[in-house]
Symmetry: C2
Subunit: 402 residues, 2 copies
């Protein structure tokens, strides 16, 4: 039953994680609350945007051919036939050859005109406008379908909406949009040494830091974390917590106590109520990770050391979450940096090293994975692939940012 | 009154923006809602963490000197004197010389012991444990104050709290924490061409995209945006909107119509009720930006083109907001990339070019600043400093990510 003697590689663990992930569930939300959410539909332009030919400068609407050859010394002379107001096309205003009309930025290009000359390149003398440089066809004009053409896909399903996307949704008149429902992720803490945040730890006890950290990360990523408290290492209380969480959650994380007994208990309870798919990953830190399923609900057993739990969350659990959100892959922020120190590694396991960034140099933050300070004092992770014996100081690396 | 004829450089505009920023106002929030908020206090360790000497592996607690010289072929023989339970120190369990005790990960190091040998490097024979390699003093032990010492500063004021910080707060028993109150930022849209998102634009009209985009960005950054609707280009309605917004907001953004008339109106109304400090910045896009103050409330006039408004928000308004949050500088995500194309620029103005990232190469996204699609199809901005005539293809640049 236990596969711990045969740990799988990270690729297989990630594939398992995505394979057991439930599909996303769409829900409509107001467009102005949708930033950061993952789109479940293609957003299509229902009309041309901006919808009419507009000037992008303050100037004069002209026929471009009337300006050909004009210069400071020999300006073209045009007769000014009116003024465009903002927000409404001027009735009967036509710019025929030899004529022009004043147009503010954003104004509707009048009939007959095909370009705009900036006011800075003109001089006014009564009804006559002196044009001091030529413009080409369409210059300083935003054409009616230049931003988006009716029927075009503006935003694709699977995209995490940005603030500027919210602007585009407004421009198309979308007040609501279909996004993936936030997955509900249950967190059960185990370990006889754990006490709640509100308690004063007795001898041998520590407060439960991992559950808060996991919940905060999941919440930021787009999930609704649900706490099920701290469960003692007893089969029955463990099963009770699981049976409460199962109907309420889309997936469950068991934030492990750190001892082997505790891991065995987690694997035993998952196996007793469902199936253990992975028990052990060639990943450091994070080897004693469990991936299982009870009914159709994914259940993960995470290691107890905070740094290990965090690495497993990012490397193994996020692929599940991102599938549940309809993303093609996890949305991780990365940056390129130069390694400030050499990193030895054991071949045969994928290793993640905490690093601190200083002026684009990534310095390894060594330290036991039980230390919270190494997580707080680092900016992200550098991956050493399984087939690699280490990375040399000075080489370029991608840093997965917290 | 108008300083438009003497635009200031970006450094002066940013200095003005920070200078007029109100100070942050602290508020207590539950620690588990504090991720992303900016801390207003130094968080101090009120006790040692973890608080007792713990094992970081499953193994045997020993006196390290008893293992000196041990090997596979000549193991050290120790008498196993008991077992450490999780969550409580064993009464009376003492590891004297020649003895050891089983200890799970996270267990309390028993009296007398000073190191832990991993179970993998031992063999059990009844009450005797064969130790097959030596350990040094403190090996596999997390000392009582190794994570944080009582009195140490764990998190510094001004820090934007991460999920792992939330974990540390839990570890110290902090259930609430003082963070900067979210500044309330009013947004007034002006421009006779603008209609609300819910309207169908008539001829010459467009929907107000900028207000939604600005609000979404501000909300993500940690503000509470408040909409005051669309105001027509008339002095009185403009003043009415301002006098409604002033008592309710910590700062006000006037999302400009795009014409010169509209900019003049904005400057006129700010000057008529307070003072215009900056009118025009040597910034592209974003030149026609206004910075002013009515009473003690900062009021910004932003350009009407969406891309210009976005650049001004990031470059000029964010320094104000970050001051209001107690941050030393704006928290902008950046990444290093190689420029995929040469960027010419005019000396004497700071220019921001939208770029699309592909495999660490930043390709410029050219296009009129009135186009929303250039914002949606780009990943961030590259800055060309004012003293520079452009950047060569192939050079390394920092990209400010959306």
């Amino acid at each position: 039953m236990s596969k711990f003697l045969h740990p799988v590689d990270v690729a297989e663990a990630v594939a398992t994680s995505r394979h057991i992930a439930p599909d996303f569930v769409p829900e409509d939300v107001p467009a102005d609350c949708a930033t950061g959410r993952v789109l479940c539909e293609d957003v299509i332009a229902r009309e041309d945007i901006p919808g009419f030919d507009r000037s992008v400068v303050d100037g004069f609407a002209v026929n471009f051919e009337d300006t050909t050859g004009s210069s400071e010394s020999i300006p073209a002379l045009l007769n000014c036939g009116g003024r465009v107001s903002m927000g409404a096309p001027e009735q009967g205003l036509v710019v025929s050859r030899g004529r022009c009309a004043y147009i503010p930025t954003g104004g509707v290009l009048p009939e007959g005109a095909d370009a705009v000359i900036m006011v800075e390149h003109t001089e006014r003398a009564g009804d006559t406008v002196l044009v001091k440089r030529p413009v080409v066809y369409g210059e300083n004009v935003l054409f009616h379908d230049e931003d988006y053409r009716r029927g075009a896909v503006i935003l694709q399903a699977g995209r995490r909406l940005t603030p500027q996307d919210t602007g585009v949704l407004a421009a198309c008149g979308r007040t609501s949009v279909a996004v993936a429902r936030r997955p509900v992720i249950g967190i059960i803490s185990t370990g006889n040494e754990l006490v709640p945040v509100t308690a004063t730890p007795g001898p041998g006890q520590v407060r439960d830091a991992n559950a808060s950290m996991l919940a905060a990360y999941l919440n930021e990523y787009g999930c609704d974390p649900l706490h099920y408290g701290i469960v003692r290492d007893e089969y029955r209380s463990f099963e009770d917590a699981l049976s409460k969480a199962l109907p309420e959650c889309d997936a469950i994380l068991i934030s492990g106590g750190s001892s082997k007994d505790d891991r065995d208990m987690t694997a035993g309870v998952i196996a007793g109520n469902g199936e253990v798919l992975v028990h052990g990953i060639t990943l450091a830190p994070g080897k004693p990770t469990i991936i299982g399923r009870i009914g159709t609900t994914p259940v993960f057993g995470l290691p107890g050391h905070p740094a290990s739990a965090y690495v497993v969350l990012i490397v193994v659990v996020l692929p599940l979450i991102s599938h549940m959100l309809g993303e093609k892959k996890p949305c991780l922020r990365t940056t390129r940096a130069v390694l400030g120190d050499s990193l030895p590694s054991q071949k045969g396991r994928e290793e993640y090293i905490r690093v601190r960034l200083e002026e684009r140099i990534a310095y390894p933050v060594f330290g036991k994975s039980g230390l919270l300070n190494t997580l707080v004092n680092s900016d992200g992770l550098v991956c050493i692939p399984a087939g690699c014996e280490g990375l040399e100081k000075g080489c370029e690396v991608d840093v997965i940012l917290w």
